[in-house]
């Protein structure tokens, strides 16, 4: 048995939000009783953690705490349109629209409080459940502030829309502005290849990705780790097969997925190159996380055993076969020499 190690690198890029068409998302926000907040938007959680991200954004913008934010969402009859949960668009599109709606609600509250205290609106700030006027000793809890605003007859609400101005591609040469925000990434993979069995183990991935601004760094890591492992699944084992259109991989016994034993250690490096257009500087990570992994692994396999896999997945059978061919041609060269 010969175990060979190797390393490879790959880069990648990705566009944020809907491709080559205008994208939009909207939000309603309200500073609510008790100094809490209600944020309503048309779409959210598919597992990536966007609910928490939106609550963090709302909390920061309003001056409350994330767990005091209630998100109302996901209902075409009860929430404003925010389009779909995909295209690495949620933090960018919906996050920015939440920020803008919260700023409007906050402004409503600030106007009332500035009047109440007899100070300039511009002197007000709020954070972590408190509101105050800079350069004065006016300060109270957000709970009290909302109460004061309501007693003055004003419910602090706001609404906003965020637009990404994308254009379609020219039908002849494809020119156009498909996205306004781009992200980039690079990953290094380290593998061990068993030249007898053809089995490849990915032992380490170092993944550096630009996300604009990380709202929740642990959540970003989670997206990178999950994306990397999905890519390793496609790179090494997953294969939905059909014969004359009928699947021959009908269940998880035949359709092989990565388990706890197959996954590398993933080291994430979060790069923050803020988006200059949106109010928050955020971009996204969901899809781009998995782009560089497969080529990085294939380049690492080449580094280890000198075999280039160009047809996915790189199953043990394919590796063994490619090694056999390589050895044969090496022998042929030798005997010719």
């Amino acid at each position: 048995m010969a175990l060979k190690r190797g390393r490879g690198v790959a880069g990648g890029w990705y566009g944020i939000a809907r491709t080559a068409s205008i994208d939009r998302a909207s939000t309603w926000a309200e500073l609510d009783d008790g100094g809490t907040a209600k944020v309503v938007t048309g779409v959210t959680e598919i597992g990536e953690g966007i609910l928490t991200v939106l609550a963090q954004i709302a909390a920061e913008e309003l001056g409350v705490r994330p767990w005091e934010v209630t998100i109302g969402d996901n209902d075409t009859a009860r929430a404003p349109e925010a389009a779909h949960a995909g295209a690495t668009r949620q933090t960018y599109m919906i996050g920015n629209s939440v920020a803008l709606a919260c700023r409007e609600a906050r402004q409503r509250l600030y106007e009332q409080m500035a009047d109440h205290w007899g100070v300039e609106v511009s002197s007000l700030a709020s954070r972590d459940g408190e509101i105050w006027s800079e350069g004065s000793n006016h300060r109270c809890t957000m709970r009290e502030a909302v109460d004061i605003s309501k007693k003055r007859g004003v419910v602090p609400v706001g609404s906003a829309n965020f637009t990404a101005h994308h254009t379609g591609l020219d039908g002849q040469d494809g020119s156009g502005r498909p996205w306004q925000a781009y992200v980039f990434g690079a990953q290094v993979a380290e593998v061990e290849v068993d030249t007898m069995t053809g089995e490849v183990q990915v032992l380490g991935i170092w993944a550096a990705h630009d996300v604009g601004r990380a709202v929740n760094p642990k959540g970003v890591e989670g997206q990178i780790e999950g994306g990397v492992v999905q890519a390793i699944g496609q790179g090494l084992m997953e294969h939905y097969e059909t014969k004359d259109g009928r699947t021959t991989t009908p269940g998880f016994a035949k359709y092989i997925l990565p388990t706890a034993l197959d996954v590398p250690k993933v080291t994430s490096v979060i790069v923050e190159d803020p988006d200059p257009i949106g109010p928050l500087g955020v971009k996204g990570i969901g899809e781009p996380a998995m782009v560089p992994t497969i080529p990085a692994v294939m380049n690492a396999i080449y580094d280890a055993i000198g075999v280039r896999i160009t047809s996915l997945p790189a199953t043990p059978d394919k590796i063994v076969e490619a090694l056999r061919k390589k050895n044969e041609s090496a022998k042929a060269v030798q005997s010719a020499a």
């Binding site: 597992g47 609910l51 075409t76 995909g86 954070r127 020119s175 290094v188 269940g251 928050l280 580094d303």
Partner: protein, 628 residues
């Protein structure tokens, strides 16, 4: 079906309930006891989502006939936090950020709890072995390992209990803070109700008749016998669609149920709503269909040839879409090149394998609003399409997105919600459909398989001067997201590199294969795999370090993309630096130098798996009260 009376202790409470002998323990717990924290991810012992304890042993309850639970002590995810407080393990999952969609999480928490019960000092490598029977499609497992290690350390006193608390956000700044996921408690406790966990009064159960043929004309459908069955409340086919019958993300080429002909194996033909699942299943067998076989088309290259079978009449060339991108003059570029590399690449069809199979509920509310509750990734567009299909005003159609147990693009298509609407309208009762894992795998969209021909020209100093890329994507039987997939695939194909001369053509074609649709990274994974492989081949030829060749070509602020858009800022160099530094990369050309590298096996690598070597001697431990 004979019934039996099951007496057992479940989560510390005595129960006595009627069960049906064919039920699995999983069904009994979910349906009769209404404890829906335990999930059905595969029904075949392969995923671990249904894990629970029976007499202290971790079992996959989808493999246990209900009769086996007679007189036993059963503990489910709901039993762990019986006092209303989460268990240490559940808190650790919350703190570590170990839950994403959450669908695998109850099973994971049970398996992790078992690991600690068996060995309170469980090592990091043994944790992996112990969780090896549980699939998670979202997290990549790393945060789950972190959670189990954290719970272990808190339980044996190596870490204080406060390690499980929320970290303080500095200065009340919440953007940039590792706020614990707000939805995690509902996921680690099993309290969150996914669509398949929800019930409504008077609810009917739906089953779908699916095509056994890849390409065949439907001469006739006779549902009369099925409709006459006792317990069957409604049967629908394409004849029941009142409006414009077509959906799809770009082209509306897919009917709610097959209309006139089927185009892939597994395509929906008819749907039945009945008082119970078994009756609905039996009714499917009573539907009579007369077929006329058509020649099938299974190869995307063949689809583009003249005389190939035609999948959709509107597209006699089987072409969904072609996206061309042209910049500069590739032939001139190749003429300038010192090195020209040519290669072909292939990628396969891939299943999303979200742990939550498709499920949904449809009902007509008291105001006549047709309402669909399902884990749809695109409720806005689905509402638009369904209103047209039902010929109803748009505000009389309502979509509610239930918690999504993983999507990855696979839940963007409205593949079953239309049937729920039609059945709810016809039966005037709530209806519910839950896919089996087999149904989900065989009938839902996949990642587009692709075939790429690539030609890249470079100068001796490593600059790419021309890239010519041609990709054929197999879209399968329906358009779904194909147009967008091949567009994104094209735009990003040549990579984040400044290439003066580019010629890219991507094609999406129809075949009679399982449809391809949206899948995380949407067509660009296929093309960027090719580009990044080509770059390493070039680097070997030119004696350049792989980072170096990428830096030489990296787009920079002010450069034009392949679609001639000026970029304001480009972070590729920062990312390359970040990956190079973090990995401690040893510089050198990619000349199969693995054996001589000095940067291997450093920090950031796991130990290779030598199967079975990781189990420490098992210490049979008494049940720990703190994990219960």
């Amino acid at each position: 079906m004979p019934d039996m009376i099951v007496e057992a202790t479940v989560n510390g409470r005595k129960i006595k309930k009627i069960a049906q002998t064919h039920q699995r323990l999983l069904d009994f717990v979910r349906e009769e006891l209404e404890l829906t924290g335990t999930k059905d991810g595969c029904g075949a012992g392969e995923c671990g989502a249904c894990s629970m304890f029976v007499d202290g042993r971790l079992v996959k309850s989808c493999l246990v006939p209900v009769g086996k639970a007679q007189g036993s002590e059963v503990e489910t995810i709901e039993g762990l936090g019986r006092t209303g407080e989460l268990s240490v393990m559940q808190k650790a999952f919350h703190k570590a950020g170990a839950s994403q969609c959450g669908y695998c999480i109850p099973g994971m928490v049970m398996a992790a709890t078992a690991a600690i019960r068996v060995n309170p000092a469980v090592g990091d490598e043994e944790i992996k072995e112990r969780l090896g029977g549980n699939i998670c499609r979202c997290t990549g497992y790393q945060k789950i390992f972190d959670a189990v290690g954290l719970a272990r350390d808190v339980m044996n006193g190596r870490l204080p209990a406060t390690a499980l608390d929320e970290d303080a956000a500095e200065g009340g700044r919440y953007i940039g803070a590792n706020v614990r996921r707000l939805d995690a408690p509902s996921k680690v406790s099993g309290a969150l109700k996914y669509a398949g966990d929800q019930v409504m009064p008077q609810m009917l159960h739906v089953q779908v008749l699916r095509s056994p043929h890849a390409h065949a004309r439907i001469v006739s459908i006779d549902t009369s016998e099925a409709e006459a069955m006792e317990g069957v409340e409604a049967v629908v086919t394409s004849a029941d669609v009142p409006g414009k019958d077509g959906f799809g993300v770009f082209v509306h080429d897919q009917p709610i149920m097959a209309r006139g002909k089927v185009r892939y194996v597994g395509e929906a033909i008819a749907a039945v709503a009945a008082e119970d699942l078994l009756t609905a299943k039996r009714a499917l067998q009573k539907i009579r269909i007369e077929w006329e076989q058509l020649a099938g088309l299974f190869d995307p290259d063949e689809a583009m040839q003249a005389g190939a079978p035609v999948v959709h009449d509107y597209a006699p060339d089987n072409l969904v879409k072609h996206i061309p991108i042209r910049k500069g003059d590739v032939e001139r570029g190749f003429a300038e090149a010192d090195l020209v590399i040519e290669e072909r690449f292939e990628t396969q069809q891939v299943e999303h394998a979200y742990l939550e199979p498709e499920a949904g509920i449809g009902y007509v509310d008291p105001d006549g609003v047709v309402t669909i509750v399902s884990p749809s990734q695109n409720i806005t567009h689905h509402r638009h399409m369904l209103a047209e299909i039902l010929a109803m005003p748009i505000n009389k159609v309502r979509f509610v997105m239930s918690p999504v147990g993983g999507g990855f693009g696979g839940k963007e298509d409205m593949i079953y919600q239309g049937m729920l609407a039609l059945l709810a309208i016809k039966s005037r009762r709530p209806v519910k459909l839950v896919f089996t894992r087999e149904e989900s795998i065989a009938t839902t969209a996949k990642r587009h398989p692709s075939r790429t021909s690539y030609r890249m020209g470079l100068t001796n100093d490593g600059r790419i001067v021309a890239s010519e890329i041609r990709v054929i994507y197999d879209g399968g039987a329906y358009g779904m997201s194909t147009e967008g997939v091949i567009r994104k695939g094209a735009i990003l194909a040549a990579g984040p590199y400044a290439v003066p001369n580019v010629k890219i053509d991507t094609y999406g074609v129809y075949t009679n294969n399982t449809p391809s649709g949206a899948f995380r990274s949407f067509g660009s994974l296929q093309t960027q795999f090719a580009t990044e492989s080509m770059l390493d081949m070039a680097a070997e030829n030119l004696g350049l370090d792989p980072f170096e060749i990428r830096r030489i070509n990296a787009m920079q602020a002010g450069d034009l993309t392949h679609t001639k858009q000026e970029l304001k800022s480009v972070s590729l160099l920062q990312c390359l630096d970040g990956a190079e530094k973090a990995s401690g990369w040893e510089t050198g050309a990619p000349t199969v130098r693995g054996a001589t590298r000095e940067d291997l096996d450093g920090e950031g690598c796991r130990k290779p798996c030598r199967l079975g070597a990781r189990f420490h001697a098992e210490i049979p431990a008494p049940k720990l009260s703190e994990v219960a």
